[in-house]
């Protein structure tokens, strides 16, 4: 088991190294001189040379990469070109909203999707099943921001139940925090829910066709017990896999959701950074999100044992 974990960690490190290399290269793949971009203003060629020296842009690529990695390992993600603030500080300022949004979405999506998938599988072929699958394909096809606008239109503007935009700190109270996150979570989570529901249904169908389920039914176990105690647990592996993979969807969707709902999170930080070509921020955010994604999937891999003891490391 330990060997497996170590091996996976090793693989993870290699993956992160590839990401880091790609991310670092971003600055060099830009047309034009990164130093000129940073110098901005009415800079003279001397100023630009000075900046090149200061950033070490005249050193060979690998040396620069090495230096960057060392700084990275010390927690230094560089400095934003436009605000001169450290990227880590900018990200830290925006973590709470994004974290709140994605965790809430994750929680609600799984809570809703898994039961739906199970029920659809249990009633395979009936209208319940078809409508669930129908809705899920629909959910897949509507872009997040279109859905967001529809939700705002109904729940914020017409019914006035929920606020239109913004974010309240958790410290400001539970309801203000929650009410500002409900619509964004629904908008963001719909695709995620659909994905999980579909996979849950497919996995459950696979498992329900197995012999041991027939045995359980023959034994006289109540249908619900069969579903939960035997089927669901065995279907766990693909379900939890897709939950892990779906995190990428969440992250991508969060960017647009935060823009529509004016949530001051990392997603919006990214969008602003893209429009401004503020590369240090772009680099830092990609590293962060990739790191999280890789970590989550590592945890998912390690959790397989919980679901299927047959899986040996």
């Amino acid at each position: 088991m330990i060997v497996y974990i170590l091996r996976r960690l090793g693989a993870t490190l290699i993956v992160m190294a590839v990401v880091a290399l790609f991310v670092f290269s971003l600055l060099f793949l830009t047309p034009g001189d990164p130093a000129a971009v940073i110098a901005g203003d009415v800079a003279t060629p001397d100023d630009i040379q000075q900046i090149r020296e200061k950033l070490g842009l005249n050193k060979p690529f690998l040396v620069q990469f090495g230096g960057w990695v060392v700084r990275l390992l010390h927690g230094d993600l560089g400095t934003s070109i436009f605000t001169n603030l450290p990227v880590t500080k900018l990200i830290a300022q925006r973590v709470q909203p994004t974290l709140s949004l994605t965790l809430l979405t994750l929680f609600v999506a799984v809570l809703v999707a898994v039961p739906i998938g199970v029920i659809a599988a249990a009633k395979a072929g009936t209208w319940t099943d078809r409508s669930v699958m129908g809705f899920s394909v629909l959910a897949f096809s509507i872009p997040v921001f279109v859905l967001a606008y529809v939700l705002i239109s109904i729940f914020s503007i017409h019914l006035e139940w929920l606020p239109v935009q913004g974010y309240r700190q958790f410290g400001d109270g539970l309801w203000p925090w929650l009410s500002h996150l409900i619509l964004p979570s629904i908008a963001l989570g719909t695709v995620y829910t659909a994905l999980i529901a579909r996979i849950t249904r497919a996995a459950m169908l696979d498992v329900l066709a197995q012999d041991y389920i027939r045995t359980a039914n023959a034994k006289g176990l109540a249908p619900r017990a069969v579903l939960t105690r035997h089927a669901l647990k065995n279907a766990g592996v693909p379900i939890i896999t897709v939950i892990g993979i779906g995190v990428a969807l969440l992250i991508s969707g969060a960017i647009v959701t935060e823009t529509v709902f004016a949530i001051p999170g990392i997603g919006r930080l990214t969008v602003d950074a893209i429009l401004r070509r503020d590369y240090p921020i772009i680099q830092g955010v990609i590293l962060l999100f990739s790191g999280i994604y890789v970590l989550i999937n590592l945890l998912v891999d390690l959790s397989y044992r919980l679901f299927d003891p047959r899986i040996r490391y």
Partner: protein
């Protein structure tokens, strides 16, 4: 369903009251016109930075609602008989936010830094022999020749405003931005740098040590009495979201809204929509004179015959109530405004003439890059209209959009378009910034010393100088007309429309100052 909503709200309110540490602090939540990125009001002319500077800094003189220059930080001032020496004495009790008193040295260093960048300041510097500090509270300005606009320059209303900074900060190179750590002024608000979230929030608190003047506030002059404890600038790039925030009471004041959205707010009886700016603003199309193809006068002239100000008015202001054409290089509705020489822009649109001029100019299909900012509706609408216009003329045009912060950085580039340069950008200026040949920075044609675009026309400069020499209204008008005549030939920029930008605030606010610049003192919240 309404019952559900109301009871949900009541529950929420209850929870909120229990959960939060209720403070009786008065907080003014303001939605600014842009995102505050650059904190230095000297290196950039961007209005958002100017507005920020008005919060934390103070000025020696200031312009009031009658366009008169009044002393602000200055207590007494004197002009010698030969009009060559000004003596200024500062008021008592002026302190910077770090507790240090404001001294003459601070004022002198600040003015010198400002005059390196500002067009009027450059002119003042040309006529200046020396600034000397007599003691910490008194200093003198010795001129080489009389400069009647001295106080006008020192009390300039809009970009660049000669704000007073501590000496060590003012000693920063005039081409380098000052940082958040150096944002220390003597103004009515203090900048809370720990709470600054670029792209989202700027926080100011009342400067309890500030000593306001005794007079009533009038534009930038008079007593700057702060009636709230804390001001939060919440930047909301999406106009619909901002409107919703204002409607819901999540924000108190929206600095500028696109006129199209007025109907959204008019329905709400708790929100007031007003025209805060009596003169209105002017939108302009600015060229890059250092790079082809707009270094060619005939090509610029060609555009005069096809730009249809009515289109730009509608694109910016939505309808004729909120905007109108202004065929002048000076703000329409002000003394120097005139239509002399404006026939190419005002007359019937003539695509044939334009195409002929384009041919004569020898245009060989060079790429034209229009840089735009999608988060500034006024800029973006103009960019779209111009792009389509140039396309109709058969010119090789490309629209590249980023956000405003990118635009104001990119417009500093003098490179060709292949290296990230630009050919055209659009922006707008408030009325007071375009009232005369002296103030209108778009008319300065000193090459690299000019505003972004860097036009170079000795004739235009000669005529501008001549205007500076005039001393009575009639001569001033004639000189201004001469400047405009040459401007319509050289085309340093093309004025595209004049419009009013409404402001909207909740009705529990009082004391909002009606002025071309948004000032946040004197505003109270019930």
């Amino acid at each position: 369903m309404k019952v559900v909503a109301v009871s949900l709200r009541a529950l929420a309110l209850g929870l909120a009251l229990v959960a939060t540490s209720a403070s009786a602090e008065k907080v003014l939540r303001f939605i600014p016109q842009a995102d505050l990125r650059i904190l230095d009001p000297i290196t950039t002319t961007a209005y958002i930075t100017r507005n920020h500077a008005y919060m934390v800094y103070d000025t020696l003189f200031a312009t009031d609602a009658k366009f008169q220059v009044q002393p602000q930080m200055v207590d007494k001032w004197d002009l010698s008989k030969d009009k060559l020496t000004y003596t200024f004495t500062l008021r008592d009790g002026l302190k910077f936010h770090d507790g240090q008193p404001v001294r003459s040295a601070d004022c002198i260093a600040s003015i010198e830094r400002w005059s390196k960048r500002d067009s009027l300041g450059q002119k003042l510097a040309q006529s200046t022999e020396a600034w000397t500090a007599v003691n910490d509270k008194t200093f003198k300005l010795k001129l080489k020749k009389p400069f009647p606009l001295t106080l006008g320059a020192l009390g300039k209303l809009s970009s660049n405003v000669p704000f007073i900074m501590p000496e060590r900060v003012a000693k920063t190179d005039a081409f380098k931005n000052i940082t958040a750590d150096d944002t220390i002024g003597s103004g009515p608000f203090k900048f809370v740098k720990e709470e600054w979230v670029p792209g989202s929030k700027v926080v100011y608190v009342k400067n309890t040590d500030y000593v306001p003047r005794k007079e009533a506030p009038s534009w930038a002059a008079g007593g700057k009495v702060v009636k709230v404890d804390r001001v939060e600038w919440i930047y909301i790039p999406d106009s619909a979201t901002a409107a919703a925030a204002l409607n819901a009471g999540e924000a108190d004041w929206w600095e500028q809204l696109p006129p199209d959205l007025i109907p959204l707010l008019k329905k709400n009886k708790d929100v007031r929509v007003e025209n805060i700016d009596p003169l209105g603003s002017l939108s302009v199309m600015r060229f890059n004179f250092l790079q082809p193809p707009f270094n060619n006068q005939k090509l610029r002239e060609a555009l005069l015959y096809v730009v249809n100000q009515k289109d730009y008015v509608l694109g910016i202001a939505g309808d004729e109530k909120n905007g109108h054409p202004c065929y002048s290089y000076y703000t329409c509705g002000t003394p120097l405004s005139t239509e002399v020489g404006a026939e190419p822009l005002k007359g019937k649109r003539d695509f044939d003439k334009a195409k002929k001029l384009i041919q004569e100019s020898g245009y060989k299909g060079e790429k034209i890059v229009i840089i735009s900012a999608t988060d500034q509706p006024i800029v973006h609408a103009q960019s779209l209209i111009t792009t389509e216009l140039l396309r109709k003329l058969g010119l090789n045009v490309e629209l590249q959009a980023g956000d405003w912060g990118t635009l104001i950085t990119r417009r500093t580039s003098k490179e060709p378009v292949e290296k990230g340069g630009w050919s055209i950008f659009h922006t707008w200026l408030v009325g007071p910034d375009m009232i005369s040949p002296g103030i209108n920075m778009g008319l300065v044609s000193l090459g690299e010393k000019s505003w972004f675009g860097w036009p170079s026309d000795p004739k235009l400069e000669e005529l501008r100088e001549a205007w500076f020499e005039t001393s009575d209204a009639a001569a001033s008008k004639k000189a201004a007309e001469a400047v405009q005549l040459e401007a319509f030939k050289y085309v340093p920029f093309i004025p595209t429309a004049q419009f009013i930008l409404p402001t909207a605030y909740r009705s529990n606010l009082s004391g909002v100052i009606i002025a071309p610049v948004t000032f946040l003192w004197n505003v109270d919240k019930k």
